[in-house]
Point group: C2
Chain length 437, copies 2
């Protein structure tokens, strides 16, 4: 065992890794029961290591198709990463299929058996016989430690490619990738692929693309547009010997883009509208309260998705009923009767009520019809009012999202984007809290 493991380790340390493919294994993905988020995560973590990903494949829990997918990927790429199919149940077939693809036997590995025992001890539970299935691996495979779960992964050379098997549980896969695979890949790459993403809002995809068409046609760096829910991003990608050299190629292109479309720009890479807003609020030392009706807590949820949001976010009120708008926020009963809950005056009163109640510098309010029910000719699904109270004049923006027959989810997400952007622009324009007070 010791010798096999060592020879596999030696093999795994030769050959440059330039390309990778990801094979996702699980019938639940093919049946649409589960959205595969692992692949996007792995992709975004391989690119900075200089590894280009040309293909993802998903197959079900079927021996023949898993073996075929692994062999095909190994014939095309230097590195094949599989996720899923390492569990203790009988439809978990990945390591067995890797053994078949490589013409190896499955052998029990004592260290993996010990690991199963140890993980069960740690959580005060007793393994069942099926759990020891996770101690079997293709002969000669190097094991990938799993700090969070019972399923260890396998590393095995196959047709000049390195194949790595990971569990489908995202937290386990990520820890194993970062602790074992990433350092190994780093040693075997030469070069880096670096992407920078510039985020824009308030401009459509094709209008933005036309402003930078010459850059979209260029090949080094490449620039590609992508739109979603009222936002557009441009991804600039460069390949070079080092990450620093790639950044040097990206910088002038990014500057050129911002010189042409800077007025719509709000952030770079993982920036979101709410994280850009959070930075501005922190910089001002200003606080924000929320009063939500049709978004029902989505704005609060998105703010508190960010660790550290307690620095500026004081409280959020989900006033879903009219009584709640009256009693909590002090929206006058007559206003609700006269104009209805989805109206400009009610959005205004909600924002002002929330600001007063929370004693915050700003308050955003949302009232609208997210659908699919509740729309009328006069007030269709997609009609939304967003209010911004700041102590000075309260601004109310009317959004009409009715024309595109959007889903409840899309209307809520787009409304949240617009609401956050309303305050972000206010702060970015330098009309800050103190000037308003």
């Amino acid at each position: 065992m010791q010798n096999e493991s060592t020879s596999a380790e030696a093999a795994a340390k030769t050959g440059t890794i330039k390309s990778a493919e990801i094979v996702t294994i699980g019938t639940e993905m093919l049946l649409g029961d589960l959205v595969d988020t692992n692949t996007a995560w792995i992709s975004s973590h391989l690119a900075p290591l200089g590894v280009a990903i040309y293909r993802h494949t998903t197959v079900g829990d079927n021996q023949q198709r898993i073996v075929a997918a692994i062999l095909e990927a190994a014939a095309r790429a230097d590195l094949v990463i599989t996720t899923g199919g390492l569990g203790p149940t009988s439809d978990d077939l990945t390591n067995e299929c890797l053994a078949l693809a490589a013409g190896r036997e499955m052998v029990e590995r004592p260290e993996a058996r010990e690991h199963v025992d140890e993980m069960f001890r740690r959580f005060g539970r007793t393994p069942s016989p099926s759990n020891y299935k996770q101690a079997f691996f293709p002969e000669g495979a190097e094991l990938i430690p799993n700090p969070l779960g019972t399923a260890m992964g396998a590393l095995l050379e196959l047709d000049d490619a390195l194949v790595a098997t990971f569990p489908g549980v995202p937290s386990e896969m990520k820890a194993m990738f970062e602790e074992t695979l990433a350092p190994l890949v780093k040693e075997r790459t030469d070069g880096a692929i670096v992407s920078r993403i510039l985020h824009f809002t308030g401009i459509g995809e094709s209008a933005l693309a036309e402003k930078v068409q010459d850059l979209l046609d260029a090949s080094d760096p490449t620039v590609a547009p992508l739109a979603s829910q009222g936002k557009v991003k441009l991804r600039i990608t460069a390949r070079a010997a080092t990450p620093e050299e790639a950044e040097e190629k990206i910088e002038p292109v990014a500057e050129e883009i911002l010189s042409r479309a800077g007025e719509y720009y709000f952030g770079v890479d993982s920036e979101t509208i709410e994280s850009a807003l959070a930075k501005l609020l922190k910089k001002e030392g200003a606080t924000l309260a929320l009063a939500e009706s049709c978004t029902g807590g989505l704005l609060a949820k998105r703010l508190t998705d960010m660790s550290g949001s307690s620095a500026f976010f004081t409280e959020g009120l989900v006033t879903y009923s009219n009584e709640s708008k009256e009693n909590l926020l002090g929206v006058p009963h007559d206003l609700l009767v006269e104009h209805g809950a989805v109206s400009e005056p009610v959005a205004r009163a909600m924002a002002e009520g929330a600001r007063k109640l929370a004693g915050s510098d700003f308050a955003l309010s949302v009232t609208g019809i997210a659908g699919p029910d509740g729309g009328t000719d006069e007030k269709p699904v997609g009609l939304v009012y967003v209010g911004l109270a700041s102590g000075g004049e309260t601004a109310v923006e009317k959004l009409d999202l009715s024309a595109w027959r959007r889903s409840r989810e899309a209307i809520r997400e787009r409304t949240a984007n617009r609401a956050f952007d309303l305050l972000r622009r206010r702060l970015a324009d330098g009309v800050n809290a103190s000037a308003d007070r």
Copy 2:
């Protein structure tokens, strides 16, 4: 043109469709900028039509690789669905690649050009020259109308397979699939694949699997387990001549599973813990208020993701600061000082305060440390208290999610599941609001 279109239409109406593959096109997916949700949606909508999906493939915006992926899929499956790459920019290559794969020319289709004009008129904008790229299709293709956007799709026979191209924008793809492709596929299938998903909570994946191991080993119907964030589901899948016959095969298996693990069962198919809870609340005519700290609006967001939640959800309070817990919910200052915000007494006071303020039958409260910062030895990241006020004795449940080094998102999602389940069990056990009052 007329003849070609008619002959393609005729061709598209022959041959039984038994299997499908999905090809996702877009470098943004390979780089991990975007998670592909289209594939899961399409998969879940093809299976009930009797079409088995054996493989998904994702390739980037690269001519050679798109052509290869389409040809490979067409060689294996009866139906190939592509998503993405139908936009107006120069990296949108799908229809061009379909033409290459089929050895056809690209030709301009007047009806598609008119459609571009019409969509721009509808939204009061003017098309730019690049938009008319969307009027070009492989010669002989049938067009798929797009009621929501400018990008029409193509239907073309290739190597005995039918290839359908769809845009990547989910709302457009879904509308086009439902209005054009689904009816066409329905005419060309014989048989149905039906899945039923049973949802469980309060039991681990392997413990549940062991209770039903003999069923997991069976092949008709198949039963497969899947776990996520404190929930486990079992998917039962049967193939038969008609959906009704498939249901008849599923029914006894579902009954057998429930006879062994019914105490952990909470719902079927698209049921979530919150939708199961919503049904019980509506049945009781009971109302619910929320007081959230570390979940920051997530519970409210999940309740209001459901259309019609206003029937039972009155208001939610996101009391992120201590001041807000005191001022809004009336949590005593001394309690916060003595026990800290993350404590059993504060969870209790929050739930009671929210119930009183909203005048609701029930209130759930959450206070905890979602991380990644803010943890201490005494109160680690993952320590959460969930309170349930009902007018009778207030229940508080302590969750310790610290052992698994979970992400902020996972801790928040799992907490929401547990909080909803606390009230769901209470209601399901028949201890209803009126008995408590």
